[in-house]
Amino acid sequence: MRKFILIATLLFTGSALFAQKKITTSGTVAFDATTGFDDLAKAENKTVIGAINTTTGVIQFEANVKNFTFGNPTMQGHFNGTKWMDSEQFPKMTFNGKVADLSKVNFTKDGTYTVTVAGDLTVRGVTKSFTTTGTIAVKGSTVNINAAFKVKCADFGIANVSIESGKVSREPTVTVSAELK
């Protein structure tokens, strides 16, 4: 019994030592909800926290909603308002997921790998299952994650006349880029 506990402890400690969590606090998430009627609805946040566990393939992102930067002050005010992101009530947006096809990626070899990521995206307090494709680029000990996808505003309880009338896109394009070390 003692032997078993010793072996189990060694195995657990060993796997923990090999687990590699790469992190950034300067990831970028940008979204573009512009349409032919309105070109102001776009912003980016460059202080996004991102992490990937190269052993398990777990990917996480966290963004302070209020740190999305717009060119126009009024648009930024609207974005944070109760009818849109309601950032006072829901200050954070998060993604918690996993690389579905982690075996494709060799973290010890430089290269760019196209992967599928599936997980939970939480925006405005609403969590939705979400799957997208993206790339993982390995260069030495650095891992670059890039993805571009569309999200439906209505999935996160954002529905109003601006969207219905086509002034703001129903499905903004979101781009994510992060250099994790």
């Binding site: 202080t47 302070n64 740190n67 109760t82 849109w84 109003n160 006349v161």
Partner: protein, 303 residues
Amino acid sequence: MMPNQPNTNSTARLLLIISGILLLAGFFLPWVSWEGSKLAGFDMATGNFFRTSEKKFSLGNPFPQFNFAFALFWMVPILSLFVIVLTIKGRVLPFISILAGMLALGLVTAYILFTNILLDLGVGRSLWGSLCFGIFITIPAAICMMLASLPAKKRWEGLAFVIAGPLLAWLSFMLVSNYIEKEKFKDPLHGKSDYSVNAMQFINEFRLSDSTANKKYNEKIITVTGRVGEIEAADTTMNIKFIDTTTGSYAIFAFQQDHLGEARSLTVGDSVSLKGSCSGGVYSDILETEFISFKRCALVKKF
């Protein structure tokens, strides 16, 4: 040019009295309803119009320095009262009726255009659904008061005055909208900081109570002085961090293109003052620590 031949016809005088009463009453009845907040014509004159839109929907008067000018709309009930009294006494002064009508219709236009903006923000489902009976009394009353004060021959000319109020209001609204759409954020280095703080004390305030600190600092321009803990590339720009090494909590300053050169001149360990717009603090579940974000940042001083 204002018509100078008043209409003394008895039907016209009766219409003037009725429209005067309706315009006066309509001014104090609800014109629009924004998610349960009913606003009458006089709410613009008292300033409650923009107070309500700012408090409920974060959309205030873009030129608050001119708030005093809205008192002008008290002229609508005052002039309506004049019209009623003067008409009863047998005098018809078209100038007064036309001015009251123009102001009322201009105000109606402003309410409709502003309600349309709120619809864009998600307030209400339709314009018609947001309008209240006060506005439907005011519109015909104002038109009737203007036209009834004029002699029959001049009524077609009177239509120009009917259109003038809404047209002026619409033009003013478009000018303001255009200004707002083209407005840019001011450079953080221009203008005073709301707060000047020490980095470690600042981070500690958020650690102790981020709700209190967020209330105090959110969207304020703050100058933070401390030692650079980390410099990170963020896509094509740079972020500078002050880090509380005992807890791992940090404040991060995102430098935009305009001030990128300043960020590049810094190295870890430099003592600096950074200025930016505080986006508040959030607890990170990934890092299990508090992080405070800043946007539109600039270097104030390197010691």
